[in-house]
């Protein structure tokens, strides 16, 4: 053995700022295009999902309480850290079946998209909130407020940009997220947890689960403490069922696709209106 033995990476979950294996002890094999085994990735259970939602809930209020400017800088930091990890992500995307060119384009989109959403954190209120001219001596202000904990169904073939395209607008808007990735994107989503962990995103604000998409999404929409789900990456044949199940807790749902416009980030916000007398009585 003249060649150095490489140290292989263990692909784990990202919950509450830590990288646990699945409590189920189960993993899922990921194979490259020639069907060679690349790695076993953690296979999240329903208990892992509950842990992730609990971590997200615990972290959300403090995250929303930070200034929009601070959230903007942290989302921008994601782009900075991502830029330095391009080679690693490109290799992992290629294992997942992307060409080099497609992988690089995916990373460009992911990094630039993070910059785009960073800039939205301290603009959203000015675009979606405002003063309402009520017919009385009152100041009437509608503020946009975060939804709380958002579950994100990341697209299987979306790579890095598919996942960050959902995570970044949700974070910029002040939510905590549980991102769920299945299939081939599990390799990059596990590494993305490392990016989020080193970008000043507070522990628990972003959580990443890999595993069986169909099962995880069902548990996510059924969870009473999840405020919103983005079903962008939900398997087509499960969409109607998932939408129907959101009726139980009236969980909001959307399928933003991570499209870069105001409409996407508004899916991650709610509205609160405040009245105050404006005349001396």
């Amino acid at each position: 053995m003249s060649e150095r033995v490489e140290v292989a990476k263990t692909y784990k979950l990202f919950i509450g700022g830590a990288f646990p294996r699945s409590e189920s002890g189960r993993t899922h094999p990921v194979r490259d295009r020639r069907d060679r085994l690349v790695a076993h990735v953690a296979w999240a259970s329903r208990k892992d999902l509950r842990d992730a939602v609990r971590a997200a809930r615990a972290a959300q209020a403090a995250w929303a309480g930070r200034t929009a400017y601070n959230r903007a800088q942290i989302v921008y930091r994601i782009a900075e850290v991502l830029e330095g990890r391009r080679d690693q992500f490109e290799a992992e995307l290629r294992v997942g079946g992307m060409t080099s060119r497609a992988a690089r384009a995916n990373l460009d989109a992911a990094i630039d998209g993070s910059v785009y959403w960073a800039g939205f954190a301290d603009k959203l209120e000015q675009l979606a909130g405002g003063v309402n001219p009520v017919a009385g001596p009152f100041l009437n202000v509608s503020q946009t407020i975060p939804l709380g904990v958002c579950g994100l169904a990341c697209p299987d073939d979306g790579g890095v940009s598919g996942m960050l395209g959902l995570v970044c607008p949700a974070l910029a808007a002040g939510n905590a997220v549980v991102a769920v990735a299945g299939g081939r994107s599990a390799l990059v989503s596990s590494t993305l947890g490392e990016v989020l962990a080193t970008s000043d995103v507070p522990a628990g604000v972003a959580n990443v689960l890999t595993g069986d998409h169909a099962a995880l999404l069902g548990w996510l929409v059924d969870h009473a403490d999840v405020d919103m789900v983005d079903l962008t990456g939900a398997p087509a044949d499960s969409r109607a069922d998932l939408e129907a199940r959101t009726a139980e807790n009236l969980t909001r749902w959307a399928a933003t696709g991570g499209a870069e416009h105001l409409g996407t980030i508004m899916e991650f916000r709610d509205v609160r209106t405040v009245w105050h007398p404006a005349r001396i009585l």
Partner: protein, 497 residues
């Protein structure tokens, strides 16, 4: 000049609690070159006629550097360079690329924050605590905030398509040299314009250092050009036919002159001019917090602040209490070496400004006003002026009507909200006002009735890149910061559905 140094309890408190060992910020982090040129088309060059001005450290009077003084030929070259960049690389840059370059510039400024803070204090005389905690972080925030707008301009004004204007001339004052530079450059660049920036003659160094960062960040040459100089340089920029817009921050008199010069030329203009801000304290206010607000409102940056709360209006029932606490608080203010981290009030920016402040206060005494200053003195060398209260003010005196731009606060009292509003509005200015009361409805009613572009309630001198800033009446027009500030740098046309 007649003053009344007080030797009361407050003064003894001051001696006990306000004397700290000096804690000087090191100046070795900054390298000041002996000479600086103009920044035109990405290169530094002397003025065509070789003219220079000397910028000094106002806390000592010592020369810091010689800086090129741009003449009409230099301004012409700068506008031409800005035009080439606008027609070339900058005009072709995508909104996303503009955003990324501005984000990068914001980060570079954050990285070198300490260096900028020390240089700002050396060149302008403001306390290092303020340069470090206010000027530099806020400058970075303006760059960061506007970076995010560069690729979202379709949302700037609903229903309107937004395009850049072209070459923008920006003339900034000496009181917040770096902050004003960033505050003006950021929206102009985010909106796709190119810039010729004219810093003030007494404090040009941080704008020149910022220009180095612009280059380091990778902006194409000519996107930001800096022409240092005095009034004549600014006038040459205003008179130049290649400029699509002028943004000016400075005195009302010069602002009026610029408007006359631009009449009939179709050049866009925004003016951020002087003020005579009223600071109104009601009897239900949290008095200790109000005292801090009053002190910040007038002594922040030696009162060299266009939105300073230079007129205190206090409700009659609490006037005695407020004045007693204010005098006690003033005893604790440390006036001195701007680089000392304990210093509250630094150096007056220039000798001519010091003379002007003295004339105002001497004139107030001649008009029958009483003057109070803390018992501790000010340094002998350099340009310093003590925090000053002027009482027995009727309202018609020069000191009550005109902008002093120094650490001088006039005091009057009032009985009713209406009287407070009438007194506050009895000026041609309309930049800022402060209201201190625990009653929300009263705050909103006052805000509704005050002639002011910015009203602070139970706080004062708050600034944020996301918050539009600017005046009404003779304090100027146009807003800077926030979504509203973008309009000044955009050509807007309706989008037809």
């Amino acid at each position: 000049m007649a003053t009344t140094p007080s030797r009361d309890v407050a003064a003894r408190l001051g001696e006990a609690f306000a004397d700290y060992a000096p804690s000087a910020e090191g100046r070795d982090i900054v390298t000041i070159r002996p000479e600086y040129g103009l920044v035109i088309g990405g290169a530094e060059r002397p003025a065509a006629d070789g003219a220079t001005i000397t910028t000094i450290d106002p806390s000592t009077g010592d020369a810091l550097a010689r800086v090129a003084e741009a003449g009409a030929a230099d301004v012409d070259a700068a506008v031409a360079a800005a035009r080439r960049a606008y027609d070339g690389a900058w005009g072709a840059a995508s909104p996303r690329d503009r955003a990324k370059l501005l984000f990068r510039l914001a980060r570079l400024l954050q990285d070198r924050a300490r260096e900028f803070a020390v240089l700002e204090t050396l060149d302008g005389g403001k306390p290092i605590r303020e340069a470090r905690d206010v000027d530099v972080p806020l400058a970075a925030q303006h760059l960061f905030y506007h970076a995010g707008w560069a690729d979202k301009l379709e949302y700037a004004v609903p229903g309107m398509r937004a395009r850049a204007l072209g070459v923008v001339g920006q003339i900034i004052p000496w009181n917040f040299p770096l902050l004003m530079a960033a505050w003006k450059l950021a929206p102009a660049l985010a909106c796709g314009n190119t810039v010729v920036l004219k810093p003030a003659e007494t404090s040009p160094l941080t704008a020149l250092l910022l220009a180095e960062l612009v280059d380091e960040a990778g902006f194409p040459p000519g996107v930001v050009n800096v022409v240092t100089g005095a009034g004549a340089t600014g006038a040459a920029l205003v008179d130049h036919p290649g400029v699509a817009k002028i943004a000016f921050t400075g005195s009302t008199a010069v602002g009026k002159g610029i408007r006359r010069a631009l009449a009939g030329r179709g050049v866009r203009l925004t003016l951020e001019l002087g003020g005579k801000g009223a600071h109104i304290v009601f009897d239900d206010a949290a008095i200790d917090q109000a005292i801090e607000g009053i002190v910040d409102g007038i002594f922040f940056n030696q009162g060299h602040v266009c939105c300073a709360g230079s007129r205190l209006l206090v409700q009659e029932t609490v006037a005695g209490d407020v004045m007693e606490r204010l005098r006690a608080r003033m005893e604790l203010l440390r006036v001195g070496d701007p680089l000392d981290k304990n210093t509250d009030v630094g150096a007056i920016n220039s000798h001519s400004q010091l003379v002007r402040i003295r004339e105002f206060v001497d004139g107030a005494v001649e008009e029958g006003c009483a003057v109070h200053q803390p018992s501790r003195g000010v340094p002998d060398a350099g340009f310093f002026y003590p925090p000053t209260l002027v009482t027995d003010v009727g309202g018609s005196e020069r000191i009550a009507r005109e902008e002093v731009f120094g650490p001088v606060l006039t005091v009057q009292s009032f009985r009713t909200e209406r009287e407070a509003v009438d007194r506050a509005n009895s000026t041609r200015y309309g930049l800022s006002a402060g209201v201190w009361t625990e009653k929300g409805a009263r705050i909103l009613w006052m805000a509704d009735n005050l002639h002011a572009g910015v009203v602070w309630a139970n706080t004062f001198n708050r600034f944020d890149a996301a918050s539009p800033f600017g005046g009404v009446r003779e304090s100027g027009f146009g807003r800077e910061g926030g979504r509203h500030g973008l309009e000044a740098y955009l050509d807007l046309t309706p989008v037809r559905a």
